[in-house]
């Protein structure tokens, strides 16, 4: 039951012979006459049966490496130097027919997006057996039998029946399982995985990672795992390389890198992530300032030096070589010791200091149904909660649990079916029916930075528009106010004339935040505002949101799926499942027993980064049930590992107040819920 998050490798175990060896590889992209050295001198080896993680942010070139290994670079890219060898054969010297025999048979790949990677017009079983037919010349019958067997191995329910389904008939997690079955069915020696769990929910991700671990053990396959998520790497890989702007900056086994990161970039990345659990009050996150450099204009200095906190004169003059800093540990930095501020110095309670007692938003028995041909789909099913003035309320749940629908009802983008929402003791409905004053007071920050700004408008037009609409400041002062707003989100006046496509994702999100603040609102709904940003950028935006909240003392409803992030900033958190409230309480209360069984499963699914924390393993089976069929009992009973019997199926549990302000909706008596072990156990002392 325990230990899936303990560090999975032992530095003393020597690796088998290299399955994949990448030596001094340079990859260049061409765009017109511009040369773009995307990867420079990348070297690493993956031994048989080993899981090797390549971690980097977007634009770091990690997928480029994967495609180069597959010999499937984009047409304007070229491997300019070095050698990529697979089991001793140089892949770059093989003809395209020889490569065809290798790809899919000896080297497989699991892509990122399961939906677009499966052909929608073929049954999933046929898509698996197709590979077997090509590579093993099996007859249709044999191939189908083997395919069904593989689908069973990846724990798809009723493999014979699933084999006959089309991709759209199964869930995202199941589609990813099919792709994993396709990848493993030829028993490859090397499996390349390009962010295979990025689009999935945490609970699904946890099960897919279990599956990959199991398949790796059974098939003794070497895994080349590409991701941006350090937590996933820690839970899956034996060794890891950190890549930054096309250069591998640090490499070593997972335990030693997570315990004592050597390169400043690795340290920065680890500090960006909100800790899963600390005993002390929250610490301000360290963001990595600056941007990935433009690779078309490379300088001789260390690639990370413009953003490095510990930069010295030496770093600016010449890039450091790879330095062996321990057994199988390499770091591309002149230094290994850094004088960092003592961590305790900048402890600071970032949660909203003192939310007032006054209730700002009151959601009472809210229901939202979407009529379909088969009946009403219940997106929000009788949920009540309130948000006080100046409070940060977190809302967590898997995708499809109705949290975004609730948010859209509160801001008035959706009409609700039953119940009431009051704001400042006034009943509010759709946005067009609200008073201008109410509209001004409720704003929203959206999830996708790429779509949140109108591409045809400049930042100035975007920010001054709400100022003009609500006449917040007189016309002559609007530009000045826009500049102030930009400065409050750490951007400068220079951004005023830019169009959205000229700024980065993090900056777009900052502009979106500035726009929300422009009307001087009292409530801002944040719909996963950081989930599509890079880790190093996330920290900056989170810090910014804290600062602004403290300064203006407004209420946030923060929607997210990452419990660590939510815990980091919220005063209260509500856990939602299928449009119903499971648990609501302070963030620390959620992390300690008594747990709602669903909260417990969510906590167990967090990919913990800290190497000193042990986590109990609880996995949710099956998918969320259909929200159309009537469900008189507890919404969670179909997947609940602690279901007690018919009562769960027949009657919906009432909310029990276990502590003032901490409510759990479950039939299991509180004493029993409190009797479980805490989810997290602490091993060694905190190291980072």
């Amino acid at each position: 039951m325990t230990g899936n998050n303990s560090v999975s490798s032992n530095p003393d175990v020597s690796r088998g012979p290299a399955v994949l060896s990448v030596r001094d590889v340079d990859i260049t992209y061409y765009s017109g006459k511009v040369k773009f050295p995307a990867i420079r001198k990348a070297s690493f080896e993956i031994g048989a049966g080993e899981a090797f993680g390549l971690v980097g942010e977007s634009g770091s070139g990690k997928s480029t490496v994967a495609y180069a290994v597959m010999q499937y670079l984009a047409s304007n890219g070229e491997i300019a130097g070095g050698e990529i060898a697979f089991s001793g054969t140089n892949l770059m010297k093989l003809s395209s027919t020889e490569l065809l025999g290798l790809r899919g048979l000896k080297i497989s790949m699991v892509p990122q997006d399961p939906l677009t990677s499966l052909n929608p017009s073929h049954r999933v079983g046929d898509q698996v057996s197709e590979i077997l037919k090509i590579h093993f010349k099996l007859s249709s019958g044999e191939a189908h039998k083997k395919a069904v067997e593989m689908l069973g191995q990846v724990h798809l329910p009723a493999p014979e029946l699933t084999a006959l389904k089309y991709p759209h008939q199964i869930s995202g997690g199941q589609q990813q399982r099919v792709l994993i079955a396709m990848a493993f069915c030829t028993n490859p020696e090397l499996l390349i995985m390009d962010e295979p769990t990025t689009g999935l929910d945490v609970t699904t991700q946890a099960r897919i990672l279990d599956l990959i671990r199991e398949m790796k053990k059974n098939h003794k396959t070497a895994i080349f795992y590409i991701t941006h998520d350090l937590g996933v790497v820690k839970n899956l890989c034996d060794r890891v390389a950190i890549i930054y702007a096309g250069e591998i900056v640090e490499e070593g086994n997972v335990a030693s890198i997570f315990l004592s990161p050597a390169h400043p970039y690795t340290r920065g990345l680890l500090n960006c992530i909100p800790k899963t659990y600390t005993h002390k009050t929250e610490k301000r996150l360290d963001a990595i300032e600056g941007f990935i450099p433009n690779l078309a204009e490379l300088k001789p200095s260390c690639i990370f030096s413009p953003r490095c906190k510990f930069v010295q004169e030496q770093c600016r003059r010449q890039a450091p070589p790879f330095i062996e800093i321990g057994p199988e540990r390499r770091s591309k930095c002149y230094f290994t010791e850094f004088k960092e501020q003592v961590v305790d110095d900048n402890f600071e309670d970032l949660r909203a200091s003192s939310p007032s007692k006054r209730i700002l938003v009151m959601v009472d028995h809210l229901k939202k149904v979407y009529p379909t041909k088969r009946g009403d789909l219940r997106a929000v099913d009788d949920t009540s909660f309130e948000c006080k003035k100046g409070e940060i309320l977190g809302m967590v749940g898997e995708s499809g649990c109705g949290k975004t629908t609730m948010a859209r009802c509160i801001v008035g983008l959706e009409d609700y079916s039953a119940g009431t929402i009051t704001f400042d003791d006034q009943d509010i409905g759709m946005v067009r029916k609200r008073s201008k004053e109410t509209r001004r007071k409720i704003q929203m920050v959206f999830q996708n930075p790429e779509a949140t700004l109108n591409p045809q408008k400049t930042v100035e037009e975007i920010i001054t528009r709400p100022l003009a609409l609500y006449n917040v400041v007189p016309k002559a002062k609007r530009r000045q106010r826009a500049i102030e707003l930009l400065e409050s989100v750490n951007l400068t006046e220079l951004y005023l004339s830019r169009y959205p496509h000229e700024i980065s994702g993090g900056e777009k999100q900052r502009v979106g935040i500035a726009r929300a603040f422009a009307t001087e609102p009292e409530l801002i709904i944040l719909d996963e505002p950081i989930s599509s940003l890079d880790v190093s950028v996330q920290a900056g935006v989170l810090n910014l949101l804290f600062d602004l909240q403290k300064k203006h003392h407004i209420a946030y409803i923060f929607i997210g799926h990452n419990l660590s992030v939510i815990r980091h900033l919220c005063n209260r958190v509500m856990i939602v499942y299928m449009g119903r409230l499971c648990e609501i309480g302070g963030p620390d209360e959620l992390f300690e027993p008594p747990y709602h069984p669903y909260t417990e499963a969510l906590l167990s699914a967090i990919p913990v980064v800290e190497p000193d924390i042990d986590q109990r393993e609880i996995r949710l089976e099956g998918a969320m049930p259909n929200a159309i069929d009537p469900m008189p009992g507890c919404a969670f009973h179909t997947r609940c590992p602690r279901k007690i019997g018919d009562i769960c199926v027949q009657s919906a549990p009432a909310e029990v107040e276990v502590k003032p302000g901490h409510k759990i909706a479950c039939h299991i008596p509180v004493e029993e819920l409190s009797a479980v072990d805490p989810m997290f156990k602490f091993g060694v002392k905190y190291v980072f």
Partner: protein, 295 residues
């Protein structure tokens, strides 16, 4: 002010498109042909070698020759001059009717997409009804009601093509209407009018421009067809369709009076379509067909 800048940014895209050297041969050939016709249309009275109405009785049904480059018809009128003057009518009718179609199409398409649901459903079914009429019969109906004249021709063609533009605009607007910046505008408290015309429209300009250039080609054809069945501008205004119609009885004896306007129609339509294709490559390019990494 915002309107001004949004037009500008649609325009900006065209300019940047040009700067990226995305200009295809289609665009150049089409552009030259189209500009040529526009030039001829504008300066028609000054460049005709003869008076289009003047009947040269000593040169009836003349073969193309020195003084009459495209020959003369059975009344001895210079065909080249008539084709040149016909350019003017055709272009005028075709372009104004296209503009009318675009105007109606943008209004209905964007509104329909924005409101969605039942409004969209009703508007689209009405649209379907309009589209299910054969174009020529529908034009005859409109002109039959309003009476033949240049303006009524424009109205007829505009109404005929508006539903088709509506479809294209609506499809494009549907891609945008669920994006977050539209939600942001709604949360911000903007009126539907503002959202449709200031937030959505600037993002569908490229489609509208391309659609307009394609529509123009069809409008030229329809203008000529209407002229041919006698519903164009009434004689003696020179019109390509009417010219082909009135001379068709002598086609085997003297083919040039029929062929000259027909060839003019062909060249004009080809020119407009090539130009439209070229614009499409610039404005709506979905990247190259080869897999290429974006830098």
């Amino acid at each position: 002010m915002a309107n001004n800048s949004s037009n500008q940014s649609g325009f900006r895209k065209i300019i940047t498109g040009f700067l990226k050297k995305n200009i295809t041969t289609n665009l150049i050939i089409g552009g030259v042909l189209l500009l040529g016709f526009v030039f001829v249309g504008i300066f028609a009275p000054y460049i005709t070698p003869h008076d289009a109405e003047e009947m040269h009785y000593e040169n009836l049904k003349e073969m193309p020759s020195g003084p009459f480059l495209l020959g003369t018809d059975r009344f001895g009128r210079d065909i080249l001059s008539r084709v040149i003057l016909g350019t003017r009518t055709t272009l005028l009718v075709a372009s104004t009717s296209t503009l009318l179609a675009l105007l109606l199409g943008i209004m209905f398409g964007a509104t329909s997409a924005f409101f969605g649901g039942r409004v969209d459903n009703i508007m689209m079914r009405i649209n379907d009804i309009f589209m299910s009429f054969p174009t020529l019969i529908f034009a005859m109906l409109v002109i039959g009601v309003l009476g033949p004249s240049m303006i009524n021709g424009v109205i007829a063609i505009g109404i005929i093509y508006a539903p088709r533009v509506t479809r294209v605009v609506r499809a494009q607007a549907l891609n945008i209407v669920n994006l977050e910046y539209i939600d942001a505008a709604k949360v911000g408290g903007e009126s539907p009018f503002y959202i449709i015309f200031r937030e959505m429209l600037p993002n569908i300009w490229p489609t509208i421009i391309v659609e307009g250039s394609i529509r123009l080609g069809y409008a030229i054809l329809l203008t000529a067809s209407l002229g041919y069945i006698g519903l164009g501008p009434p004689p003696p205004t020179p019109d390509w369709g009417l010219m082909a119609y009135s001379e068709r009885g002598y086609m085997f004896e003297t083919p040039w009076p029929v062929f000259a306007p027909c060839i003019a129609i062909v060249i004009a339509v080809i020119g407009v379509n090539l130009f439209g294709e070229g614009l499409k490559d610039i404005l709506l390019a979905k990247g190259s067909r080869r897999k290429e990494a974006k830098i």
